[in-house]
Symmetry: C2
Subunit: 442 residues, 2 copies
């Protein structure tokens, strides 16, 4: 990725779009954002289309490629998108992806000559049924949230919460691709083997300790060949963009099954992501000095670089909201359970995750998804899961309507939200990552 240049106006906070809703204060999708998603139009039997969110609208790139006046270079970059193939676009060189962002920005800017042609390519987001945005070949979940790792570790090892490898190895494990869904889905409470304390045999029953985990999802751009590695200096080129990610977790299943090979059925029944991939380019103004600039111990050289130390982080505000069935029935809005900031919660950077993953020659591919692990803040009330907020289920949370929760109940809607904002930059958001718990099928 080339450095942010003065020639790139896509971060200009004063820029306005001819799509009026993109200029409203509260929108997640101003012209400075321009995230990609995959959708079908409601009520049509058609193959999925790639779109760009702008205000409360979607710019349909299939239609836009045909209608707009694009340069030949722009047409080349638009072609895979016009065909609904986000993976092929992800595989393009970073400079080409950046150039298309600039072209889309110019096309949607107030005064653009393309306004007339592109107006007909807009669709209300309410009319778009969003899909998983690309083919996710492999899904890997990391464990970069140091406050989360510490708090969860304390539940098991009060005196030694962080394992000896934590500050050397960006810990990760492989997850399930097939059960990844997008915001708006329902998630069925899983059945599983539970071993109650003191019991001599497990029982098969609906999970009693169903939980969410607040994460970011990282989409890989260009990959690396099997046997090759990715140096830190080039890691950013391999980062396409981010979504919110809810790593649903069955805590009681996890406790019984996870030794010695890690989580399996406790996690693979569902993962929910937000549908719009906010690109690395859009997030550039929010890069920050890494929250752990003096990573101690100093990482091994393959995980270390000047740039990573100077601006390896992304300052992204993250929130979890809950709306229970009772709240919904009473017309009450969701309530916020916590807030954290990714720039402060992650011990390892996205670059370090990518580089470590490929450091043994494992081949990453365009569209692969990496979860960051749960991003809890440093304070107890900033836990990114109910396991943390309820102290392992020992202390129930009180909700504004008088209900309480240790873990999730049927009918609960969990909503992850995220945004980046700072002085001198236009706030950009991720859109909701929401899903509702259905009762177990017994």
């Amino acid at each position: 990725m080339t450095a942010f240049s003065d020639l790139d106006h896509t971060h200009d906070p004063a820029a306005q779009s001819w799509v009026a809703s993109a200029n409203e204060a509260g929108t997640d999708f101003p012209i400075q954002n321009l995230p990609y998603g995959l959708f079908v139009r409601a009520g049509r039997n058609e193959s999925p289309r790639v779109g760009v969110a702008i205000g409360d609208q979607v710019l349909d790139l299939r239609a836009a490629a045909a209608a707009g006046r694009w340069s030949s270079a722009e047409q080349v970059a638009l072609q895979p998108l016009a065909q609904g193939d986000l993976n092929a676009f992800m595989a393009l060189p970073a400079a080409q992806r950046r150039a298309l962002r600039q072209a889309l920005f110019a096309a949607l800017l107030v005064g653009s000559k393309q306004e007339g042609a592109l107006r007909a390519c807009l669709l209300a987001q309410s009319e778009a049924q969003m899909l998983v945005p690309c083919r996710i070949g492999d899904y890997t979940d990391f464990y970069t949230g140091i406050h989360h790792a510490t708090t969860v570790g304390k539940l098991f090892r009060p005196d030694n919460p962080l394992l000896p490898n934590y500050k050397w190895v960006p810990i990760g494990y492989h997850g399930r691709s097939s059960s990844i869904g997008v915001s708006g889905q329902d998630v069925r409470r899983p059945l599983g083997q539970l071993m109650p304390p003191g019991a001599t045999a497990p029982e098969r029953a609906p999970c009693k300790r169903l939980d969410y985990e607040l994460e970011l999802g990282v989409f890989v751009a260009g990959g690396n060949a099997l046997g090759a590695t990715i140096p830190m200096e080039r890691a950013d080129e391999h980062l396409f963009g981010l979504t919110l990610l809810n790593d649903w977790s069955a805590r009681d299943v996890q406790a019984w099954e996870y030794q010695p090979l890690g989580p399996f059925l406790a996690k693979n029944f569902a993962t929910t992501i937000s549908p719009w991939i906010v690109t690395a380019e859009a997030l550039e103004p929010f890069r920050c000095a890494f929250a752990h600039p003096e990573q101690d111990p100093q990482p091994l050289p393959y995980l270390d670089s000047e740039k990573n130390r100077a601006a390896g982080g992304y300052a992204i505000e993250l929130e979890v909201w809950l709306q229970t069935e009772q709240m919904r029935a009473a017309g009450q809005a969701p309530t916020r359970l916590m807030r954290s900031n990714f720039g402060e919660s992650a011990y390892w950077t996205l670059a370090q995750m990518l580089v470590h993953h490929a450091s043994n020659g494992c081949n990453l591919q365009p569209g692969d998804l990496l979860g960051t692990g749960t991003q809890s803040g440093a304070k107890p009330e900033e836990g990114g899961s109910l396991l943390e907020l309820s102290l392992g289920g020992k202390q129930a949370l009180s909700l504004p309507n008088g209900e309480t929760r240790t873990f999730l109940q049927d009918g609960d809607t969990v909503i992850l939200r995220g945004f980046a904002a700072k002085d001198g930059a236009r706030r950009i958001g991720f859109g909701d990552c929401a899903a509702t718990v259905l009762p177990a099928r017994v």
Copy 2:
């Protein structure tokens, strides 16, 4: 899957093919086998084709679909295969897959009227470059080898080798799809973080304890919808067939990285499978009373069935062979390191693996791959990995040419072999699963 019927002649041990090499005693691919694979013809720039191995030949199903005289029902089942899409064929109902096997058997039988048309559709296996046979959406590795689990457990916990969950939960974890390759490949020795005993900081270095693991690979036929489960009574319908599988392992990387979330970079740099998928139908004569008929404790009801107890196993002989660079240079044949039998080494059956995997609603898909875990025999000399055969690296193996091994050295070729044989049935084999270790890229 319907029960084996007298009407199904595909297991007749006396049956002979007009492909002469299929009738030779030592072949892995007699007419009773008929495994599926994916290939491109050497020197041609063409899209991959599905073929069936017969003797030392491949029946090209693209050509065969066009050339043969097939019934309309057979044409329907052949269509996805003619298009090179094994996944779509896997998704067909079991009865349709079985019917096509019978049609292929009849077409290749001595005296078949199709001989004339199909002779032109044969290709020497030596002219076929084999590929990963289908799109593997997700790859899961299980841990069903009880002798392996016990031996490896003893290295860490001499008094309590098997964890309390082992005989309740078919332990598994998600692996990496992108790095799965087929027999004949080279595998680059990975670099990784190693924490030498007594050291205070890890080093990044080439893996010093590179190992293989002898497994079977299980390809899923029809899947289950997200949120649905698979009952034991129908598990066999979801089993497409088996390959050999080498779960390459970097033991020193694994020891340092695997807590608390399981193996990651220690495993995901490579997995090698044999290219021919031997179907469940071909293996029916070798089903056996399960080696652990009195699974103790009795499995929970969702993992238990009459049929599973009576004939849940598959009696498959498994072997590991090694040819070092020095042996190859001297023209010496590979040497056999061990032998085991899958019917005796696995605590859990394939049906139990499939059912457990889907028991929380996790959606399996056609073409998904499940590893069985390392299949070591009960005796020390039957270990399915060097970790076991060398007692954790403490006792080197002596090879016939005077070399020794604790773990793999560069230039070593590891060859897995497998076959099923018994009185009254024609022996069928898997073909080699071979790969050679390349030096680390430093």
